[in-house]
Symmetry: C2
Subunit: 248 residues, 2 copies
DNA sequence: CGCAAATTTGACATCCCTCAAAATTGGTGG
DNA sequence: CCACCAATTTTGAGGGATGTCAAATTTGCG
């Protein structure tokens, strides 16, 4: 396997190992407990066993580990990747604050991927056992859970469509627009953001060679669509990029 | 990719759309209600509002339709596809008896794909409202539901890996082996089966041109790995195909 | 400041898609 | 039962997009 850092996350930086305050959480309205009434929210907070801090490149879970918790990104950014026989892991997806992590463990009750922090991050660890028992009592929570589930499925479907159909320019444009819109909201006027992942990660996720990603960025810049300075992206013509992304 | 759970014949034509008899269903042990005790199974049967027959090429649901039922394939075979702006739909997946259909509607409560019968088929229509309410009372059912959900996610992840990494021979080999194992019971001795989908469907699903699929089949035949007679496939060297499928 | 990692750029090879046409299959009606 | 037509599948030739290999450049970090 890979270099052996201890399998399980071991950096529960205690600062907030406390009763997880969903109330104060900035992502609350986009998170699993969105829409719960105060009583239900209070119950839900008990399923959050801890808040957990991850340093950059730290692993939250690994392929094959038993499912005990699901995770929600509270801050930072996480990638999931599948270790492949040739040693080169394939990136499956990127997760931003509010998104639910670990659903691929639901069938076998072991994780089917590794989760790695792209930058210093925080996650809420939710006991799956407690969650299921709470779901039995709160229909709102059941629906929320299924909604997130469906969202995850939809994301993967979109990815399949991209990988199956699209050429390199479309893939990258779609990726960037995705990131720009979901990457919380400096709104339309200031379309500028920082890529937290490497060119290699992007390439793997898009089914391209990293050189192709680099070249494509260069071309976008040459065409005046964006400005790129290492990992900082500034969108100059979001409409054009969007058009490229959806062009068949 | 077709993976996991169904090793079931697919030739029964249930008589009529009557009170859904899960007891007698050949796919019962691989289906959503697997593992339920008799009382729970009885309750579950109430969520099956009807059995529904589909003729070849008939549509079960369409993109944008509101979610009212989830569906389980009882016999036959179904494909899901996303209508694309250029008019050419992209195939998302194939569904065999016992598999759950419609999960991509969970987030928006409208279907994100079309479902089309590849041959005359039967499905059980399950009221989503009744299912959610029953789930609140039966923890076994909740776990089963999430397990199927996880299976679906895993299938899509496998597909992403295939589309992102693999060359044409690997894609097709993986597809065929998947079909061979999940298709029906004859097991290793009789590796012969009928493709229910067109070359075009396969190509779309694998992110290839249909000509490439055809050519690749020809090459496999030339190499003595299989015999192909129109849509009938006979595996001559399953081990070799499996090796190709997993070769990086 | 200096080294290792990440990114960019260039040249070339190759896989696969596109276009085109022939061959086969399946279905329909005479 | 056979003829005929449309749809599907196979086969061929050629070109384009992208992967691979290699090297230069920049960035990050100690």
């Amino acid at each position: 396997m890979l270099s052996s850092t201890s399998a399980v996350p071991r950096s529960e930086q205690p600062s907030a190992g406390l009763p997880s305050t969903c109330h104060a959480c900035p992502t609350r309205e986009h998170c699993l407990p969105a829409g719960l009434d105060p009583a239900a929210l209070h119950s839900f907070e008990h399923t959050v066993e801890r808040r957990q801090h991850l340093k950059r490149h730290e692993r939250l879970y690994r392929y094959g580990m038993p499912l005990e918790h699901l995770f929600i990104v509270a801050s930072g950014q996480i990638k999931t990747e599948r270790p492949m026989p040739d040693g080169r892991p394939q990136v499956l997806g990127f997760y931003l604050p509010g998104q639910l992590l670990g659903l691929d463990a639901l069938s076998s009750h072991t994780f089917c991927s590794d989760a790695v922090a792209l930058c210093d991050s925080t996650v809420c660890a939710i006991s799956y056992a407690m969650l299921t028992s709470l779901i039995q009592q709160r229909s709102t929570l059941l629906l929320r859970f299924h909604a997130l589930f469906g969202t995850e499925l939809a994301r993967q479907q979109s990815n399949m469509l991209l990988l199956g159909n699209a050429k390199a320019p479309q893939r990258l444009a779609a990726f960037l627009m995705d990131l720009a819109t979901s990457h919380h909201a400096p709104a339309p006027p200031a379309p500028s953001f920082e890529l937290r992942m490497s060119r290699d990660d992007i390439a793997s996720h898009l089914g391209l060679a990293l050189e192709s990603v680099s070249r494509q960025l260069t071309q976008f810049r040459a065409a005046g669509l964006l400005e790129v300075q290492n990992r900082r992206i500034e969108l100059l013509d979001a409409d054009a990029l969007r058009a490229i992304a959806i062009s068949s």
